[in-house]
């Protein structure tokens, strides 16, 4: 034992000795010519044969260095001193411990410069190319399937495309904008195998004449076709079938053709599964082609704010045709048309409660059923020339509908309503930009948009309502009303393409001019028996009114920015003239004034945790003809309204202040927001009741209202099972004066609500989420009478499980509970689904509303009224669906 220890010690000492003696230690000092030490210079020992580095070190603060090297490696070495700005020196030394000093002179390094041209440099107007085949797998059929996988690109449920969180501003196929924003027809039907590349044009300024001055960070998307997909016709299809109480179907066929000078895409679609076709054919460019509402209507069930596929009972057929032709001067001429026919039925039981001072109420119960048949159409023709100095964009669009609406109300008696209308709208848009050829490229930009719309409505109600006013208090068979509302508006602006800068302040001026003209003609007639209607005489029961508003002014936008502080002020100063001519009353009214409606916004960041944001604006509102006619109009079977032809004003202001705190590293965020608004109206709209019938009229009575709300929010993420919790609570209180049965009521409403959302992953494959929300709202009449609060509670939970073979199973549970006074209503909704993609066909089975819940029940308060509704929803259904390419 002892001998073994002694032996080990001997070996250790021997090894230590050998290792020490096999090392050379080269030491030294490096000084410049003024005898100052050179620090951080590299000193290297190099092989004499190939000058490769054997060992190295750097000099210290005193210019000293020390390098160890292996004695056995080479008998001789080179020692090199070289540095940032010292001349290189090399000495040959023998490989043993020694001291080598250097005196060096200054010299800048001679560099052999080089540069490999970098190919992808991200710039202001860059293009990202996605090669479609690199993203496409066997499960992908249409281009939208592949777009969803491309980093940065999102396709939302509505079909809208976003790039890095921002909606695309233009959608091109081969650089041509044929669809004018109706691109979901293209993305859902163009075969993925036909597209070579998807290009994202980042920071896309579609107007070439503005490219040097107006930065845009809008992305645009361009689909580039494979050469063999150009100039041929292709076709896609969607098929689905299922059942609830009836047979369910869902189908579409789309054909398309793309070539250099001509593009074409058309589709036909049909379903009765609750998919709104009109929405599918909509444009995402957000141009205002939509028709306004009529001032009269059939009273029909109001759908709840839930997904349409839950409640829409439809039978829809529709189609679209789109064409683009490129002219010789590169101008694009587009032609688009789409049309759809839909039959929709609705059913509900509603209770409306109107409150009065002294605990009085009027309660109206209505069992409602309605049927709506519509033939909607819209289209446009456009010309666009996009030159470097000249830009012209003009579009003429039209949209219209032909609607037949019938409704039956079971109140105390059966009331039949019938509405017919065929509204239409024509709008035109003109943009023109001209830039100079000189260095500054001064220029002008002119934008103009105008529309004309006709909103007629023919309403017939039987039995006749408002017998007191319309038939000398004698019951009569039916009342009919013709309404013709015509509306014209033009808005124009002129901008000089330069802006003033003064330090951190910036000013952008522009000129504006707008004109609006509206006319309203109404006439009521009645039938005592049979189909013979006669006009009801009396100027108070008809209208022939015109209204016009002219505005002209200057707008200045002032901005100031520093790192932590931002301020924006928008100051539109306008001259406004309004005139009203009421022929039956032989009355005319005019109003002239200057309006100033400033808006301001301030934000201030305190460190990286706190931020304060404030905003404020002032407004001045004038009623349009919709609130200025003097003869009675039947709004619906139980509401008649008339206003005065007096031109009045409303003034108001709104402000908000938000204080936020966040600790990002702890995943914690919270904020507190206060909002306040107040207004002053010169007139009030008085409501008076005759039984359940309501008359609305305007009264000169100055009144003020206000609203205050406070909201607090907090959220936190935890490590445990990826648990996330979000909470929000808010409280609000407002005063809204109401004039009901000639009593001025100071109606105060008040509400609190809170919600909490949490999500967690039990395992990688099993996920769970839950959202609970609770609210309580109530009102108070003139400080004393408190109305019964409406309390509601909603809980929605969902579970998802992904099987190892790729089949996804999902299930959702929802619970709703509404308490009003002593009554309580509650119900459940349960859904489930399975989806799988097999070769080039996507297959899914959805089992919706498994418990076959009949109605969606909800209640809410509006000004001095409460509403309760049981709305019929789609019954339990099973739907099989598939999507594939025909050729």
């Amino acid at each position: 034992m002892i001998s073994r220890s002694i032996y080990s010690l001997f070996v250790s000492v021997l090894l230590l000795h050998l290792s020490a003696s096999s090392q050379s230690i080269i030491e030294g000092r490096i000084m410049d010519k003024a005898n100052k030490p050179i620090t951080e210079a590299s000193v290297m020992l190099l092989n004499t044969a190939d000058s490769s580095v054997v060992a190295y070190n750097f000099t210290n603060q005193n210019g000293e260095f020390s390098i160890n090297t292996d004695k056995l490696k080479a008998p001789e070495l080179l020692i090199m001193v070289y540095g940032f700005n010292i001349r290189r020196q090399i000495k040959k030394i023998s490989n043993h411990s020694q001291k080598v000093d250097f005196v060096v002179s200054e010299e800048a390094i001679e560099l052999k410069e080089f540069a490999v041209k970098s190919q992808k440099i991200w710039g202001s107007r860059d293009t990202v190319n996605y090669i479609v085949d690199a993203f496409r797998d066997s499960a992908d059929i249409v281009i939208a399937d592949v777009l969803r996988k491309m980093p940065g690109i999102e396709v939302k449920e509505s079909g809208q495309i976003e790039y890095r969180g921002k909606a695309i501003s233009k959608f091109y196929i081969e650089n041509m904008d044929m669809l004018q924003g109706r691109y979901s027809i293209a993305t859902n039907n163009i075969s993925a195998s036909d597209i070579a590349t998807v290009q994202v044009l980042e920071n896309h300024q579609p107007i070439k004449a503005l490219q040097d001055m107006a930065f845009s960070d809008d992305p645009a998307l361009n689909l580039k076709l494979k050469p063999d997909a150009k100039g041929i016709f292709s076709c896609m299809a969607d098929l689905g079938a299922g059942f609830n109480d009836d047979f369910l179907w869902n189908g579409s066929v789309t054909g398309m053709f793309f070539s250099k000078l001509h593009q074409y895409l058309s589709a036909i679609k049909t379903n009765n599964t609750g998919v709104d076709l009109a929405q599918e054919l909509q444009s995402f460019y957000g141009e205002e082609d939509q028709l306004s509402n009529s001032i009269s209507s059939v009273m029909q069930p109001v759908p709840p704010r839930i997904s349409k596929e839950r409640y829409l009972f439809n039978q829809a057929f529709g189609g679209t045709i789109n064409n683009l032709v490129k002219a010789k001067n590169e101008a694009e001429i587009t032609l688009n048309f789409s049309g759809s026919h839909d039959i929709e039925t609705r059913k509900s039981y509603d209770q409306t409660m109107y409150y009065f001072p002294g605990n009085d109420t009027i309660s109206i119960s209505e069992q409602m059923e309605s049927r709506l048949s519509s033939y909607a159409y819209d289209g446009s023709v456009g010309y666009r020339l996009n030159g470097d100095q000249n830009y012209i964009n003009s579009r003429l669009s039209f949209s219209g509908n032909r609607i037949e609406n019938t409704g039956v109300i079971f109140n105390k008696e059966q009331i039949n309503q019938r509405g017919e209308n065929d509204p239409y709208k024509v709008s035109c848009l003109l943009s023109w930009i001209r830039r100079g050829n000189n260095e500054n490229r001064f220029g002008t930009e002119f934008n103009s948009s105008s529309f004309y719309q006709s909103l007629p409505y023919n309403l017939e109600v039987s039995p006749g309502m408002f017998a007191n006013s319309l038939n000398d208090s004698t019951p009569f068979q039916s009342v009919s009303q013709e309404v013709a509302l015509k509306d014209f508006k033009t808005q124009n602006s002129l901008r000089f393409l330069s802006s003033a800068v003064w330090g951190s302040f910036r000013i952008h001026p522009s000129l504006h001019f707008s004109m609006e003209h509206q006319s309203l003609n109404t006439q009521m007639s009645k039938s005592l028996d049979g189909d013979i209607f006669s006009d009801i005489q009396g100027d108070s029961l008809r209208n022939d009114v015109t209204w016009m508003r002219l505005k002209a002014g200057v707008s200045l936008t002032l901005t100031y920015q520093s790192r932590n502080f931002r301020f924006e002020l928008f100051t539109p100063l306008q001259y406004q003239s309004i005139s009203l001519v009421d022929k039956p009353k032989s009355a005319e009214a005019d109003q002239y004034r200057m309006t100033f409606q400033p808006q301001a916004k301030v934000s201030y960041a305190i460190g990286s945790h706190w931020q304060v944001i404030g905003s404020w604006f002032m407004y001045n509102y004038n009623p349009t003809l919709r609130n200025l006619y003097s003869g009675y109009v039947l709004q619906n079977y139980r509401t008649m309204s008339h206003y005065d032809s007096r031109l009045s004003d409303s003034y108001g202001q709104q402000g908000s202040l938000t204080l936020s705190y966040k600790d990002i590293i702890r995943f914690f965020f919270t904020n507190l927001e206060v909002r306040y608004s107040r207004y002053l109206n010169e007139v009030m709209y008085s409501q008076s009741f005759e039984g359940s019938l309501m008359k609305i009229s305007s009264v000169d009575l100055e009144n003020r209202g206000n609203y205050l709300s406070i909201t607090a929010r907090a959220s936190k993420g935890f490590d445990w099972k990826k648990l996330s919790v979000n909470m929000e609570a808010s409280w609000g209180k407002g005063l809204t004066p109401q004039l009901r049965q000639n009593n001025l009521i100071n109606y105060r409403n008040q509400g609190v609500n809170g919600n909490i959302t949490l999500s967690l992953a039990f395992t990688e494959r099993l996920q769970f989420a839950n959202k609970s929300s609770w609210s309580s709202v109530s009102g108070r009449i003139d400080d004393d009478e408190k109305l019964e609060p409406i309390n509601s509670f909603i809980d929605a939970a969902s579970v998802n499980y992904t099987f190892p073979n790729g089949i996804v199973f999902s299930m959702g549970f929802e619970y709703y509970d509404t308490h009003t006074g002593g009554t309580k209503q509650s119900f459940y909704l349960v859904d489930s689904g399975v989806s799988y993609t097999w070769k080039r066909v996507r297959v899914a089975v959805d089992y919706s509303n498994i418990l076959n819940t009949k109605n969606y029940v909800y209640a809410y308060f509006d000004n001095l009224s409460s509403y309760y509704s049981e709305y019929r929803i789609r019954p339990s259904s099973i739907l099989f669906s598939a999507r594939f390419k025909i050729y």
């Binding site: 000193v43 580095v53 054997v54 940032f84 560099l111 052999k112 970098s118 999102e154 921002k166 995943f667």
Partner: protein, 281 residues
């Protein structure tokens, strides 16, 4: 074409949509003002092309960055040129009233300043509109010089290897440029490092440009507000953020949406971004 494929292949940050839920969630962003702190004047500028594998399970999915190393008398700075270009654009846009482009794909969000006298590193790292700052002592590199040689851009280079914060690297340096510097935090060899690659081929740095400054180019940083932290705290935060982005965005009051199996999912529950940082320890 090769490049565009690199760009389009998955990058962790670009597949998200952020929907602001009312006034609750507001993604903070940096305010780009013309305010800078200047530390030194660049004498040399070295440009590297950096290729990164974002998801270790997909070695072919590579993103590309262009990084510059500016070397002054007292200080050096490493930064992403793509990010720099984006910042320049944002600084112009800040003066107008436009919105802002997202950070370019592949761009590194770090600026690394090295003080030659102390060897200390100062790092500024941006995450969603917040700039985190931390300092590090001179990192230890136990270089092993290898007897292998090659020529890069006409410079004779020698190989050296090192293990640094969880990765094994092979680098190529040249004694012909006697600047002890390199990309990222690499340092301590008797010459400039022109190429770096880790053993798993997740990170490669290749010198694509070398320039001696003839005009005065300051080594500076834009004065964004700093949130002080440590390297350990920040890397823990990044790991947590990547492993559960939904939780991360929700905690800021922002709704997170992405697509899963071809469907848009709001606040996906079991979802993570691939995370493959250069420093594993």
């Amino acid at each position: 074409m090769k490049y565009s494929q690199f760009i389009m292949r998955g990058f962790i940050f670009v597949d998200l949509v952020l929907i602001s839920s009312g006034s609750f969630g507001q993604m903070q962003r940096l305010r780009y003002n013309d305010e800078f702190t200047t530390y030194d004047t660049a004498r040399y500028e070295i440009t590297y092309e950096v290729k990164k594998v974002v998801d270790p399970s997909k070695l072919n999915d590579v993103v590309v960055d262009i990084q510059k190393l500016q070397i002054g008398k007292r200080m050096s700075k490493t930064f992403s040129y793509l990010q720099f270009q984006n910042d320049s654009l944002c600084t112009i846009l800040e003066k107008g009233d436009g919105d802002f482009p997202s950070p370019p794909v592949g761009a590194d969000n770090r600026e690394i300043f090295k003080d030659f006298r102390t060897g200390e590193l100062r790092i500024r790292e941006r995450v969603d509109g917040i700039q985190f700052c931390y300092e590090e002592n001179k990192p230890e590199f136990n270089w092993v010089i290898q007897n292998r040689h090659k020529v890069i851009a006409s410079y004779p280079c020698q190989c050296a290897s090192v293990t640094f914060r969880g990765r094994q690297y092979e680098v190529w340096f040249t004694t012909a440029i006697p600047v002890s510097a390199g990309p990222f935090k690499f340092d301590g060899l008797p010459g400039l490092i022109l190429e770096v690659e880790d053993s798993k081929h997740h990170y490669t740095f290749t010198c694509i440009g070398l320039k001696k400054m003839t005009t005065i180019i300051p080594i500076r940083s834009q004065d964004f507000p700093c949130t002080a932290t440590t390297r350990e705290a920040l890397s823990k935060f990044q790991l947590k953020r990547h492993s559960n982005p939904t939780q991360y965005y929700n905690s800021m009051g922002v709704t997170y949406a992405t697509k899963k199996d071809g469907k848009v999912v709001i606040n996906p529950k079991n979802f993570s971004w691939s995370y493959n940082p250069i420093e594993l320890e």
